[in-house]
Assembly symmetry: D3
Homo-oligomer: 322 residues x 6
Amino acid sequence: MFYHVKELQYNARVSRPDPRFAGLLLEQFGGANGELKAAMQYFVQAFSARQPYPEKYDLLMDIATEEFSHLEIVGATITMLLEGINGELKDAANRSDLMKLLQGSASKEEYIHEAMIQPQFLALSGGGPTLTNSQGVPWQGSYVNANGDLTVDLRSNIAAESRAKIVYEYLLQFTDDPHVQDSLRFLMTREIAHFQMFSAALDTIQPNFPPGILQGDPRFTHTFFNMSNGPGAEGPWNRGQGPWGDGESWVYVADPVRHVVETNGLLKQEIVGNTRTDDQIEAMNRKLSKQRSTEISSVVPSGENQWSAYPQKDLKSPSAIR
Amino acid sequence: MFYHVKELQYNARVSRPDPRFAGLLLEQFGGANGELKAAMQYFVQAFSARQPYPEKYDLLMDIATEEFSHLEIVGATITMLLEGINGELKDAANRSDLMKLLQGSASKEEYIHEAMIQPQFLALSGGGPTLTNSQGVPWQGSYVNANGDLTVDLRSNIAAESRAKIVYEYLLQFTDDPHVQDSLRFLMTREIAHFQMFSAALDTIQPNFPPGILQGDPRFTHTFFNMSNGPGAEGPWNRGQGPWGDGESWVYVADPVRHVVETNGLLKQEIVGNTRTDDQIEAMNRKLSKQRSTEISSVVPSGENQWSAYPQKDLKSPSAIR
Amino acid sequence: MFYHVKELQYNARVSRPDPRFAGLLLEQFGGANGELKAAMQYFVQAFSARQPYPEKYDLLMDIATEEFSHLEIVGATITMLLEGINGELKDAANRSDLMKLLQGSASKEEYIHEAMIQPQFLALSGGGPTLTNSQGVPWQGSYVNANGDLTVDLRSNIAAESRAKIVYEYLLQFTDDPHVQDSLRFLMTREIAHFQMFSAALDTIQPNFPPGILQGDPRFTHTFFNMSNGPGAEGPWNRGQGPWGDGESWVYVADPVRHVVETNGLLKQEIVGNTRTDDQIEAMNRKLSKQRSTEISSVVPSGENQWSAYPQKDLKSPSAIR
Amino acid sequence: MFYHVKELQYNARVSRPDPRFAGLLLEQFGGANGELKAAMQYFVQAFSARQPYPEKYDLLMDIATEEFSHLEIVGATITMLLEGINGELKDAANRSDLMKLLQGSASKEEYIHEAMIQPQFLALSGGGPTLTNSQGVPWQGSYVNANGDLTVDLRSNIAAESRAKIVYEYLLQFTDDPHVQDSLRFLMTREIAHFQMFSAALDTIQPNFPPGILQGDPRFTHTFFNMSNGPGAEGPWNRGQGPWGDGESWVYVADPVRHVVETNGLLKQEIVGNTRTDDQIEAMNRKLSKQRSTEISSVVPSGENQWSAYPQKDLKSPSAIR
Amino acid sequence: MFYHVKELQYNARVSRPDPRFAGLLLEQFGGANGELKAAMQYFVQAFSARQPYPEKYDLLMDIATEEFSHLEIVGATITMLLEGINGELKDAANRSDLMKLLQGSASKEEYIHEAMIQPQFLALSGGGPTLTNSQGVPWQGSYVNANGDLTVDLRSNIAAESRAKIVYEYLLQFTDDPHVQDSLRFLMTREIAHFQMFSAALDTIQPNFPPGILQGDPRFTHTFFNMSNGPGAEGPWNRGQGPWGDGESWVYVADPVRHVVETNGLLKQEIVGNTRTDDQIEAMNRKLSKQRSTEISSVVPSGENQWSAYPQKDLKSPSAIR
Amino acid sequence: MFYHVKELQYNARVSRPDPRFAGLLLEQFGGANGELKAAMQYFVQAFSARQPYPEKYDLLMDIATEEFSHLEIVGATITMLLEGINGELKDAANRSDLMKLLQGSASKEEYIHEAMIQPQFLALSGGGPTLTNSQGVPWQGSYVNANGDLTVDLRSNIAAESRAKIVYEYLLQFTDDPHVQDSLRFLMTREIAHFQMFSAALDTIQPNFPPGILQGDPRFTHTFFNMSNGPGAEGPWNRGQGPWGDGESWVYVADPVRHVVETNGLLKQEIVGNTRTDDQIEAMNRKLSKQRSTEISSVVPSGENQWSAYPQKDLKSPSAIR
């Protein structure tokens, strides 16, 4: 259940209207890397985690709730940056004044002229925020990544926080309103904090690489196919010991076209760069399958199920408490 | 600022898994008339209302917050209806069991077989909800209607609640799980309650018809163009006194093709079915323009602006309190 | 069957090209609240109504046809506002002149410079309209609401007309071309007229509240959950007698978090604010179910079916005429 | 202006309900190659053609109008194939019967069971058509191709008719209802007829190749780059005389990687396979630029403009008539 | 398998940054008629052709690969046109300089100011290309037409090349950078070359009209319905001998409304304008069905199947070679 | 420039057709985490990296090219799993056989019956792959994350590979065809290998945390807001030393509502959990701004620019070589 607190989490203020920056800021309201995306991603991920992993559920829901609170800060800032437009549009019988502004002859409120770059503020929303990115593309559920596996989902979140952080960094360069800069800096910083939380949470799940359950085929985990001609870059991503695991090192296939033909489409590929055998891998697959499926099936009831207790005195769900 | 309460607003329970109904229920999670649409619509509308109309803001945010709480109930129910899938998928080394289920030979867990109709639960979300409708179409920001005018927005909300209500009514016919029916009936009923709240709120804004500021051109407000051949239906929508206003009655244009040619594309149309003059309408336009634009401009500052006070002891925003 | 009349329903004219306003006007051509949305919404709704409710079908199709005619007016206006661009683009061998315009040095045709704000006119449509909104977002079928129930669909239409009206009102403030203003005022006024038609039609269906068939659960129809802290607004939407029905009054839950815990997630909620019993509601559900399903099943054949007669001398479909 | 004729263009009938085929048939209602796409494509293209090419405008609008009439036939057929669902859903108090059907135990109306494959008919549209394709993806304005040049647009239409034809051909294989087959065969045949009309119309515009105005660079118009290794197919598309123009023949570049390096990224490419000089091409560009831009600018007024006359006695627009 | 050659197919260069033209050029990067659309369309079509029609597969894959190479040229050009932005954004601590540019006071790098029209370069991509069209709409899989029939697919490709050609023609008019013009002219010319290749390839498939297998119903293949009032255009598309086939001529239905009523919705329509009988058509349908289905089924194995040989010494797939 | 090698990178084979699994496998062809998404993401990211970071460019393009090669493997597998459908559809004159299959009475080819679950294979693509996910949703450019900063982009790629890996893991559980399992295991393993490559590459960029340039505000980098009531989970994500940096430890705000009010919306928040001062942070911002902007501006020319040399003997671009 959600509850609304009338105070914003951060004291958002603006020094003056600025419809052009309001348009750019939509990127964090209804954009692919914005606050709604973050809030919904963690919220949707949390459902699968609720019963088997209640601590992670609590983390995901706390951050999701903070992101909704950030969405509110962004929306409030956009609205304040647009103030004036809504009121002007209500003066519908006196079109001529607005027209003068649009033709650039006016002075103090020429910001309406700038709002033309974001026509939705004039023709659609009447001077309020819209659930779109900075170019008017509506927010989409496909921005949300939730795959039902915490070793994957937490990595999706780390990347999402990285993108949100850089977008705030870019946006900070396009306003010189100190109040707005303060709010953006707060929001940017929280992406860093969340990044750290998700990283720490991922670290508590062991093993977490590769993500999911199944190990890779040892024939192909450490091969680099040089898929281009001419000079090739060398680095720790294709030469020397592989970044994870003892005894693992990169195998560099300089001419993959020839290699593929010679190995009958890799069917005859041998294990290289890797001391793990098929048997070891199969054993690992079975062990992790058992462990993770038991973690879930041991607490998720197969019959009647209830989501929350009243009051919820424990992190666990009622069926697990019983 | 939002706050998460660990107890669901309604005690959602399921009697047993049912992935097919989980798929249908997505319509209320990520569908065009679902809970997220409702929550986001009222949330987005609320920003424009915050400063000039704080009572309406409070109503919109309270209902938005309740809709987020309903979204949580729907997601919790879908997750419980899918329980089992997530755990089975983690048993990744033992594919053969799952395959048997898919080929229909199994018994007690044949529900996984049914889940094939919603492939995203198997191939994408790993047994959790997805932010899509019942056919996998991602939720979109374009579902949200917010036009910066309460006489319009509240009507959008009345219609949105109507659609949400009928979808719950349809869904109720496709489950016989009494716990799920209870939850759906609660959710359906709240749409009715919200419908009533929005209707009552609209009624406090006078005049509210036509929506917005400008009156219609009296030449065309009461004309019905019979745009089809043969027998035509008669009803209060095209004959007799018009539904609003004294002295207004419908004018039925039986042959609009001829009428359009004869009036030079309606340029020579006279005022009919209506006693209002152009002057009266212009006066009304000016009066309402002044009233509404003043309501807004009198409380929305043109310079520095702050969204909330700490604590927020008043419905008004700080700049209006000052 | 549709037929095209070469005369526009309204004599659309422009005084001069204006590509910037052409871009804004796309909101009514391919936007979420535009003419195509309206036309397609009523057209799609009409199919379900055809056999059981032929009078409503006739109304829906007449208005849908008028909206297609309005779409044509909007498209014609956009095209005339863009005149010049298409011809200039054909002069492809003389790029230099066009470039000069773009660099702002030219005079009389600087409107091409303005067209850069809407790049699709230059790079995609070659100076014609596009099926997008004012920001280039393509029109989508998801704009259309059609739920197979007239008590819902007519309310969706009332809201759709409200939104279309306010968008025309906003647009009217961004052109001072008197011919274009005339066309927009006509189109805006027709939205008002349609609003009235749909309202009158809804009124002929009794009962129409709640929309659909099922009554709400009396425990929850009149409860207001105060989902936020601090000062709360009071109004007819949460205090006093409820807006519909004798003996019904709002129940204000000031602290929903505590209330939910105390009622075990509302399971122990009593009927409040309402004198209707569960039995009365069940009886109403059964009565309305029987009435509405009979209205439909009595005229919709279960076997062979034919849509129209030749000629169609009656509003009813042939199978109902037989 | 459009007018609705109550009789369908083709006498659509069904022998019995079939919700599964109704779902497939949505491909022609709201699919990428369906009737709405065709109707809207020709309708949108027609605007640019109205004043300079009134004969082509008339052709485009006549076919667009016929496609709207076909959309109506498809919608009527889908609705009749779904008959029963809408009525059953209204019997909302008697859920148990519908549930039995869904569990497969019922007999004569098991078609509702089949409708589960298309959940939108149950959970969203209440048994009516939806503006989506057969998988629930909403129709989109981006399906429409209109580029403001008839030598391009007519080719887009020829291809669109080809796709619509093959989709009807596929659909015909999934119903054995003779009435539905008749309707589909009619609709499929009309795509062939329209294909022929557009081809004949394209043929009246000379020259029409290359489409648009500008000639190709003679260095690159007749070169085939063999972009893959191993055996290469030979055919009139890469060997022998080119398909258009005397003295033009294909130049086959067997090893494009080497060729690109040797020609400094094709900058040193000579004219091959072609006797046309740069001067000839420049002259052609200028000639066609002048011709086509004059065709347009000679009839499109730069100032005041009017779309239609009352009555429209001539194919030309009023400003051209004057 | 794909291989990347470090040299661009064409030596793309720019004379100076130009973010505004970079924005327009996105139309060919991520637009509906751009290089990615072309590449993906031919690539997707190629799969169905691989086994039954290996020559056509080779053609489709060669052109698809060239289009990917063109996509790279377009992306490289956009990046070079944006150079400077990415570096400036990294100077994140010195916001003030960038702000000055945005306020128009700066001189040499005012192009950043222009980039505001394409906000994604600033707020999202950090100065690189985005997979959108010139208005920020993301590229979509629905742009791709692939229907599993070469007589259809090749026509889709001819139309696609026409549209790509005209878009380059339009774009050429908005840059005066000679290097960029060179690259665009090369790319435009290749669309012409591909157009010719697809036309020649279509010509080798006989018969190819109508596309697909089934002939049209002779009652409706040569009928023109005059769907509008007033003056009607005459041309080879509705009068005289039809464009294909001996003994076929257009039948002009001047008043389709009356005609439809008189023929009972065309059910009583006789064969007109056509000497082909139903029997001839049925025979043709059977003959072509047998021919085309045999072409495919004779080489596509019903059991085990392998895509490529190692090495692939033949155009045919291994199962066909065997 | 790309080049196509006729041999697949992996020798893809199928044992028998299986349209149902073909439908699921679309998730990796046109789904949000599929091969096209990966290929396009790295391809688009590579453009910004080309000139300043040629080694990273080489890595990104090599992996992008391998992903295109994987897309080909997936498409080939889907096509082979659908074999039979395309040929059957060409036998268009003998509809009856196909109908029998659909009604479930047939035996050996009942897989066509199963294909009904994916109607696009029957009604749209004619038995070939479609550029959609497993539910028919078209692929979208918005799946691609490219933000012009390698510390962000490489993290997006690590997450993308994680998601692709888990989707293959899920898919592996729904086929028992050993050939298909082999191909999927190869593809899944390569996601692991790429994950490692991107991780190693990220590690070579120092510092890379926080991503981008700007450091966080020390007041907010180490604060955990407990946004929910009742029991709260404790873990390294909100207690003890923070995961990165000496002297940094989490500050747990147990009651954020009160805290926000008391700090005047966090404006009075002190630096906590952190020994870094504002000055240190500002210095770090300036240092990193200078370093990174110089890395880029030193090699990206402000004037004429050329993408590749002929031949390209060096990783650097020609302007940097000069």
